[in-house]
Amino acid sequence: MIQVRGLTKTFGPKKVLRGIDLDVGEGEFLTLVGPNGAGKTTFLRILATLSRPTSGQATVGGVSIDQHPAQARRKIGLVSHRTLLYDDLTAVENLQFYGRMYDVTGLAARIEDALRQVDLYFRRHDPVRTYSRGMQQRLSIARAILHDPQVMLMDEPYTGLDQQATAMLRRVLGTLAASGRTVVMTTHDLELGLEVADRVAILSGGKIGFQSPAKDLDVQQFRRIYAEQAG
């Protein structure tokens, strides 16, 4: 579903990504971990077409993100630690706006379905600014799945969430994985990342230094390998 070959990104003299090769299969859940500044966010932003690579190629669902970015965007849903929502609009208005931009058919029913999936239907007419951080993040997931994307990119979605919100988001993530979508998630939480993923990878110094099926590792092993890789 996702193919990345020789992807590099430089900001001025700084090389953030130094040639990433990665394949993520259909329906696979990949957790990408790495220290701060390793290039996780830059990598996801390139996959999401928000930033152009300096060199290399990437395809999402067989579509080149460089040559057909608008087509690739239809296949992608992005959740980051920022919600990408409009605080002064209600949940329904936010989803109506994004639904129109993505040409979602049967929009009213899709909105109801998405809001029910993240348990926010009862607050659908409240402005987003009245939501807790956890509720905003759940609404952000509803926004990302509204157009039924094949690929979900999640950039540290747990940032700033309390335990209750984390548990709720974990449940929503489980539903996403079960729905057959391909998910790439970055996180600093090794335990959680290992628990939800089919495969884990460590990004360090702008390269994929390690990757393995999640079932072949336990948390202690993963922590040890991460410490070695991250220095």
Binding site: S51, L78, Y86, D87, M101
Partner: protein, 224 residues
């Protein structure tokens, strides 16, 4: 048609959010009102001197108030992170430009609709000229919001972004402001349309050229 629907969705979203808070409208309206009141007292305008100065005062009020709205147009999107959501949408980015531009122009237009009658009362202007002045204001606002929306997107990624927009916009908008002021003065003086032809041409020409250029370059400007 689909392009216009997307642009409409962007404009609807901006105006809906503004309608809920009326944050920018209040700031722009109060600012424009203060400008015309302060000029009124500072210059001690009498009926005979008002005619000469009012066109300039009006366009100072319109453009400076418009600057407030244009400045916030992309800064708000950037600060709350929704700009990324907008750029993620699978649409031609010039549709995003058109939507934002229409919302900015509409907001400026509403402020002007409130300010114009107040100015007529304050400066004792002939009400018969109001319809033609509305046309000039509409064309001037369209051009100003058109270039301003492009530069607002450009300035949002710079460090001194709030200062950058006026520095970029006003030098480019000089021909538009001159044409709008000359037309306003000519209409208030009761000149025939034919006598003002070259200023109409400059105003309409500016709108056509700069809206087209902004349309074509927005994709590159908004790219990281």
């Amino acid at each position: 048609m689909e392009f216009l629907r997307k642009a409409g969705a962007v404009a609807w979203k901006d105006l809906r959010a503004e309608w809920r808070t009326r944050e920018m409208f209040s700031a722009m309206f109060v600012f424009a009102l203060l400008v015309i009141i302060i000029f009124n007292f500072a210059l001690e305008l009498r009926a005979e001197s008002a005619r000469a100065l009012v066109p300039g005062i009006l366009w100072v009020a319109f453009t400076f108030a418009g600057m407030l709205g244009l400045n916030r147009s992309f800064i708000q999107e950037k600060d709350r992170g929704s700009l990324e959501g907008l750029l993620l949408c699978p649409v031609d980015r010039s549709a995003i430009y058109l939507g934002k531009m229409l919302a900015n122009a509409a907001l400026m237009g509403v402020v002007e609709l409130f300010i114009l009658p107040v100015s007529f009362v304050l400066f004792n202007l002939p009400f018969g000229t109001l319809p033609m002045l509305v046309v000039v204001a509409a064309l001037g606002t369209l051009g100003f919001a058109g270039v301003g929306t492009l530069f607002s997107a450009m300035a949002v990624n710079t460090r001194a972004r709030e200062v950058m927009l006026p520095m970029l916009l006003f030098p480019v908008a000089v021909p538009l402001i001159i044409a709008a002021v000359k037309l306003t003065a000519g209409i208030l003086d009761g000149l025939a349309l034919g006598e003002l032809a070259r200023w109409w041409q400059l105003l309409v020409g500016f709108d056509v050229i700069f809206l087209t250029l902004s349309f074509m370059t927005f994709d590159y400007v908004i790219e990281e």
